[in-house]
Every structure is written in structure tokens, then in C-alpha cells.
């Protein structure tokens, strides 16, 4: 199926947004940057979802003055993307609140230090002495 350049651009754009988002999420260390990367990834997927309803040369699914303007685009993905966007908003709001809370609790916005301090906290909460490397091999050497 020969695609005019517009669709190629849209689809590659959506996929690349998704990739950039995920790459940012994986590579980033600053928490706010991670939340933003997440937003980018969700935007990418939402774009992909909307494009799944796209039909060439079709009109928006609105009946002007009660008349069907012509072949209409599939309305369902647009409804779905509405929900997806709102979900994205909700999750990002929670993420930002948590970032604020973590900054207050751990005084850092770096994921690396967060993980280290989180695990120290978990160990401390469980009453464990900090993990030290072993001085002797687990198994005593045969006589």
C-alpha cells in the first residue's frame, strides 16, 4: 500500500516519541527528567492510538447540521485516546507529588542516590546491619 509521506511522518513520529520517552526513562537519573520522559512516552503512544483510527481523506465524525459530510474517521480511537490522556495526567500528577515527597524525605532527586538510600532505609526498617561483603568464602576449602 503506497503511503503518502504524511502518514509515514506521523507514524515514525509517534514511534520515535515512544522510543525517546522510554530511552529517557531508562537513561535518565534526575527524577523530574524521568517523569517528563514518561510524559513523552505516553504522548507517543497516545499519538499512535489516535492514528490507528485515521482513514485517508475522511472527515471528523461530527454531523454538521445533521448531515453526514462524507466518509468519517473511526471515532473509537479518539474516545480511547481521550481516556488515555486523562490517565496520563493522573499518573503524572501522582508522580510529581511523589517526587516532591521523595525530595523532602531523601533530600535528593537523583534516582541513583534514591535507590541507595531507599535500600538502606528498607534494611534499617527491617533491623538489618548494612550488607557487608563476605570476608571468607561461603564454603570452607576441603582439608
Amino acid at each position: 500500500m503506497t503511503l503518502p509521506p504524511l502518514e509515514i511522518v506521523l507514524y515514525t513520529g509517534a514511534v520515535s516519541l515512544l522510543i525517546i520517552g522510554l530511552a529517557g526513562l531508562v537513561m535518565g537519573d534526575n527524577l523530574v527528567r524521568l517523569v517528563l520522559a514518561l510524559a513523552v512516552a505516553e504522548a507517543g503512544v497516545n499519538l499512535l492510538l489516535v492514528l490507528s483510527g485515521f482513514r485517508q481523506g475522511a472527515f471528523a465524525p461530527i454531523l454538521l447540521e445533521g448531515r453526514v459530510p462524507g466518509p468519517m474517521v473511526d471515532p473509537i480511537p479518539q474516545a480511547l485516546v481521550l481516556t488515555a490522556i486523562v490517565i496520563g495526567v493522573g499518573v503524572q500528577a501522582l508522580a510529581l507529588a511523589l517526587v516532591l515527597r521523595v525530595r523532602r524525605a531523601y533530600g535528593t532527586v537523583e534516582m541513583r542516590t534514591l535507590r541507595a538510600r531507599l535500600h538502606e532505609d528498607l534494611d534499617a526498617a527491617a533491623g538489618l546491619p548494612p550488607e557487608t561483603s563476605r570476608n571468607a568464602p561461603a564454603v570452607e576449602r576441603p582439608a
Binding site: 522510554l22 531508562v26 534516582m111 535507590r115 561461603a138 564454603v139 576441603p142 582439608a143
Partner: protein, 623 residues
């Protein structure tokens, strides 16, 4: 309401009573009475051993569409008699002074009584299994019951109990694999179904079945690669518990192996199944494992400095004889193997009880801290003497009969190396049991043991009863061999024609009545010669030849540490503890893997794993 139901009910009642009233030492005699009732019920099922038809148990379930039913056959009756006898002896031993002593020292008598009561009841369920499902249910119950008994010791015992648990669950999983494999082949858990389909199974499947079953049950029997748990577990359990465990607990593995490998797959299949590129068949493989299980643990026992550990290691060694007898499979050998189960149960229980009696009086079982107790505890000495003669398999006792049967069969089959291995095992046993006898009872009596007296009657009675059984079944092995003929017929093995004294054969049979007669006649003549020399004056222990040096009580001249110095010089370097190293390396490998697994969960960015696995999944999909 068959006899089997009665037995189950009685054992359950005993467990309940032990749980409720176990704490008070005065409950001991009542519990012993209950064990007596169990023994009677088993005895009433006696006709089973002479060809009566199996006694079914009334409860039969069907879960997820598979039937679950139980019955007692001659094979199960034989093992049940030993179990009931060992349990009765152990309970009798525990009921009197020992129980009070154990409680005073902070031991939890209720837990010990309950654990001891649980064991025979779960064993009766295992012994009555009729298909793979009931076998597995019984098997797990027995494993867990012995785990509870091992826990009763507390402290070091718990560590050994946990090690046992890992081995036992590993073995149980192997058995489950075999069970499910047979279900995959036949669609049901019945023994008959598998037996029917066995002829047209491929060698590979048969081998996997044999390995899984023998491996799974071998763990409990303490066969070689999986034997490291047994010594510690049985030695560290409190007195009567170790007597019961040592006597019968690991023989449940042999029962299960008999039921499945020999009962279902049949000896013919085992003989037909050959190990690729070697002349050995499956049953010879089992025999060789048994041979190694005889030799290595026995010589490890030689080095032990704790009496209970020495006996526990010998328990493993003797297990090898049973498997070798059964694995050879012809009339003599299988009768020898099966009878050895009975014999070993009797003298192992007596030996453990004797050692416990010594610990009861002196507080220690360390062979380097004892000595010269024969003058203070003569009856216990007699029990230990009879026990070690049985364990070593010397003529007057029953151990000799079963070993003779196995040797005679090995000569018939022409297995020189197995024969030598068995004899080396016997010699090793003689050497090490003498060390046990000498270090505890002979030699110089320690100052602190001057006031030691004989153990009270409640402990002596079971010991003497067991020794009597050892001697009587040695004198007239025919009693036990008759039971075994029905068992052999039931398992499809060649059947032996025993006489009261042993077995009648043109080319060199065995008649224990004659053998014992000649031996005691010889002793009589020897006594005549000896008494010709007039009366001897008994002198005090310190009135001894010491090259002109006067011996005093403080000087400790009892030779007990490194008892076989000469022997150890020669075979010392051969002890490399390779199995211990093997086990530790497996543990270290698991530890390493666990560290890696924990590393997965300490990653900085969890989403990295997400991205990684997505790409790998997509790549796998595309490929």
C-alpha cells in the same frame, strides 16, 4: 472396620495421648501400653505373612478424579512388624527414668513423645500405600514426621534437621517427578497401569523412571551421593528417638523402592535395562551403589569420636547390605537383604539404647571421655556386646545369617568385586565396633565414673529384650525367613526354601542350630582347658604391668584417641571428604545464583529490565 483401620486408629490415639499428656513422665507407661496395643494389632495381621490376602483400609478417597486407597500386604506387614517393635521398644525405654531425666534437663518431653508417636502412625499409612498417589502422600508424611522427631533435639539437632529436610524434599520431588511421569505415560496413578505399559516403554523412559525412583527413595535410605544428612540427623536426635530412627526410618526408602522398582517395574526389567557402553545392568548399578554405600560410611564411622555418630554412620553402611541383597535379586540374596532389615532394626535399636544408657549415666557419648564401665554397667555391656556382634555379623547373632545369605548369593552369581566390597565392609565394621566397645567399657575406669551404677530397669528391659531377639533370631533364622518367602512371592522374586536353622543346600548350606551348637561346644572345651589351671585371683585395675612404674588413678593411660593409628597411617590420606566438598560446592553455587538473583532486584532503574525484556521478546518473536 478392618484390622488396618484399628491400627491406624490406635496409632492416631497414641499420637493424641502423647500430645496431650506427653509432658508428665508418669504418662510414659500408659503410652507404652498403647504402643503394645499397636504391636498386637500388627501381630493379629500375622496371617498376611503366610499368604493371606491383603487387609484393605476402609477410607478411600477420589481427588481430582484419581482414586486413593490403602491396603496391607505381606511386604508392608513385614515392615510394620519392625516399625511396631521398634516403636514399642523406644517408648518403653523412654517411659521410665530416662523420660524424667530428659525433662529435668530442659528437654521438651511432650514434643518428643508426640514426635515419636507420629512416626509409626505415618509409617503405617506409607506401608499401606496401594498406588502412586497414596505412596507419595505416605512418603511426605513420613519425611515430615521424622523431621519433627529430629527437631525435638533443639540446638545442633535443628541444624541437622534442616539439612535433612532439604535432602528429603529433594528426594520427594524426584519421586513426584517419577509419579507424574508414570501418569503422563499411563493416564492414571495405579501401579497396575504402569506395570502393564512397562514392556513397551523405551529404554530412555525406563532409565529416567529408575533413576528418579531410586534417587528419590535413595535419599531417605542414605545411599551414597545423598548420605551426608543421615549421620548427624540420627545421632543428634534424643536417645529413644535415634533408636527408632536408626532402626527403621531409613528403611522406608527400601520398602518404597521394593514396592515400585521391584513390585511395579519388576526385576526382569531392571535386568534387561543395561547401562550404555558398559556390561552393567540397572540392578548391578544399584548393587554397586550399595557396595560403595557399605564401604565408605563404615570407614567414616571408624574415624568418629562420638559413639552415636559412629552408630549412625554404621546405619548408613548396613543400609548398603540391604540394597545389595535386594538388588542381586535371586532367592538367597533378596532373602538376605530383607532379613538384614529385620536384623539391623533389632541390634541398631539395642546399640543406640545402650549408648543412650551410657549417656544417661555419664552425661557424655564422647569415646575419649569414657572407659572401663564394664565393671559398673555389666548388663549394658552385655547388650552392647551382643549388639556389636550382630552389627559385625559374627556367628551366634542374626546379623551373620543375613550376611551369609548375601555372600552365598554373591558367590553363586560370580560377583568377586562386590563380594570383596561386602567383606571389606564387614571387616571395617568389626574394627570400628571393637573401638566402640573398648573405648566405652574396657580399659581404665575414669575417677568420675567410680560412682556410676547400672541403668534402672525400665531402660534395661527393652535393651535386654532386643538382645534376646537378636540372639534367638540368630539361633533360629527360619522364623523370619518364612515371612520373607511370602514377600518374595508377592514381589515376583525367586522364592527361598528356608529351614528353621537357615537354608538347606547341597553345595554348602547354613544350619544355624548346628553352627551355634558347634561354637558353644568349642567354648565348652575351651572352658574345660581354661579351668584346668586352678582358681585365679582378681586384682585391682591399677595392679598392672607398667614397666616398673606405679600406676595411679590420676594418670590417664586408657588408649582411646586415634585408636587405629597404624591403620590410619595407611588409609588416612584416602579420606578426602569429596562428598562433603561436592555438597558444599552445590550450596556455594546456589548462594552465588541467589546473589545474582538479589542483584536483579537492586538495580538502579527497574524500567531498564522492562526495556531489555521487551526487546528480547520482540526479537524472539521475530525470529
Amino acid at each position: 472396620m478392618t484390622l488396618l483401620d484399628g491400627l491406624w486408629l490406635a496409632s492416631a490415639l497414641t499420637a493424641l495421648a502423647a500430645g496431650l499428656f506427653g509432658r508428665s513422665p508418669s504418662a510414659g507407661p500408659w503410652l507404652t501400653a498403647l504402643y503394645g496395643v499397636q504391636f498386637l494389632l500388627v501381630a493379629f495381621m500375622g496371617p498376611l505373612a503366610y499368604g493371606a490376602d491383603p487387609v484393605p483400609a476402609s477410607p478411600a478417597f477420589s481427588v481430582l478424579g484419581y482414586g486413593l486407597s490403602w491396603q496391607f500386604t505381606a511386604l508392608s506387614w513385614f515392615f510394620a512388624v519392625i516399625t511396631a517393635g521398634a516403636a514399642l521398644a523406644a517408648a518403653w525405654f523412654m517411659s521410665g527414668a530416662w523420660g524424667r531425666h530428659y525433662a529435668e534437663q530442659g528437654g521438651d518431653l511432650r514434643l518428643l513423645q508426640l514426635a515419636l508417636a507420629l512416626n509409626p502412625s505415618t509409617m503405617y499409612v506409607l506401608l499401606a500405600s496401594r498406588d502412586f498417589l497414596s505412596l507419595f502422600v505416605g512418603w511426605e508424611l513420613v519425611s515430615w514426621a521424622s523431621f519433627v522427631l529430629m527437631l525435638a533435639a533443639g540446638g545442633v539437632g535443628v541444624r541437622w534437621a534442616l539439612r535433612y529436610l532439604v535432602y528429603a524434599i529433594g528426594g520427594a520431588m524426584a519421586v513426584m517427578a517419577a509419579m507424574v511421569l508414570s501418569h503422563a505415560l499411563t493416564g492414571s496413578f495405579e501401579f497396575g497401569a504402569l506395570a502393564a505399559v512397562v514392556p513397551d516403554l523405551s529404554a530412555g523412559t525406563l532409565w529416567s523412571l529408575v533413576i528418579l525412583l531410586s534417587g528419590g527413595f535413595g535419599v531417605k535410605m542414605g545411599l551414597l551421593p545423598f548420605h551426608l544428612w543421615q549421620a548427624g540427623a540420627y545421632a543428634e536426635t534424643p536417645g529413644p528417638g535415634s533408636a527408632f530412627l536408626g532402626a527403621i526410618s531409613s528403611r522406608m526408602g527400601l520398602y518404597a523402592m521394593l514396592l515400585t522398582l521391584f513390585g511395579v517395574l519388576g526385576l526382569g526389567t531392571l535386568k534387561a535395562l543395561s547401562i550404555p557402553w558398559t556390561p552393567l545392568e540397572a540392578h548391578e548399578l544399584l548393587a554397586w551403589i550399595a557396595a560403595f554405600t557399605i564401604v565408605l560410611p563404615t570407614f567414616t564411622a571408624l574415624k568418629q569420636n562420638d559413639a552415636r555418630w559412629l552408630l549412625a554412620w554404621h546405619g548408613i553402611g548396613q543400609g548398603g547390605y540391604m540394597l545389595m541383597g535386594v538388588a542381586m535379586g535371586d532367592a538367597l540374596a533378596s532373602a538376605g537383604g530383607l532379613m538384614h532389615v529385620f536384623n539391623h532394626a533389632t541390634y541398631q535399636a539395642a546399640l543406640f539404647m545402650a549408648v543412650t544408657a551410657v549417656v544417661y549415666r555419664t552425661g557424655t557419648a564422647d569415646l575419649n571421655k569414657l572407659g572401663g564401665l564394664v565393671t559398673r554397667m555389666p548388663l549394658t555391656f552385655l547388650v552392647l556386646l551382643v549388639g556389636i556382634i550382630g552389627l559385625a555379623g559374627l556367628p551366634p547373632m542374626n546379623g551373620f545369617v543375613s550376611k551369609w545369605l548375601i555372600y552365598r548369593a554373591l558367590i553363586d552369581d560370580g560377583q568377586p568385586l562386590l563380594f570383596v566390597a561386602a567383606v571389606v565392609g564387614t571387616l571395617g565394621t568389626i574394627v570400628s565396633v571393637y573401638k566402640l566397645l573398648h573405648n566405652i567399657f574396657l580399659g581404665q575406669l575414669r575417677v568420675e565414673h567410680e560412682s556410676v551404677r547400672e541403668v534402672p530397669g525400665s531402660m534395661l528391659a527393652p535393651m535386654l529384650a532386643l538382645s534376646l531377639i537378636v540372639f534367638v533370631t540368630g539361633l533360629a533364622p527360619g522364623l523370619v525367613l518364612d515371612w520373607l518367602t511370602t514377600v518374595q512371592r508377592e514381589l515376583g522374586l525367586a522364592v527361598l526354601a528356608p529351614t528353621l536353622g537357615g537354608v538347606e543346600r547341597p553345595d554348602g548350606g547354613l544350619d544355624m542350630l548346628w553352627v551355634v551348637g558347634i561354637l558353644f561346644a568349642g567354648f565348652g572345651v575351651g572352658a574345660l582347658i581354661f579351668l584346668a589351671g586352678g582358681r585365679a585371683r582378681t586384682v585391682h585395675q591399677l595392679d598392672n604391668y607398667a614397666g616398673g612404674h606405679f600406676l595411679t588413678a590420676e594418670v590417664r593411660y586408657h588408649y582411646s584417641d586415634n585408636f587405629y593409628a597404624g591403620l590410619m597411617h595407611r588409609i588416612g590420606p584416602w579420606y578426602r571428604g569429596s562428598f562433603q566438598w561436592l555438597q558444599d560446592s552445590v550450596v556455594a553455587a546456589t548462594d552465588l545464583l541467589a546473589q545474582a538473583a538479589a542483584g536483579v532486584y537492586r538495580v538502579v532503574q527497574p524500567a531498564a529490565w522492562l526495556l531489555g525484556v521487551t526487546v528480547l521478546a520482540l526479537w524472539w518473536v521475530a525470529a
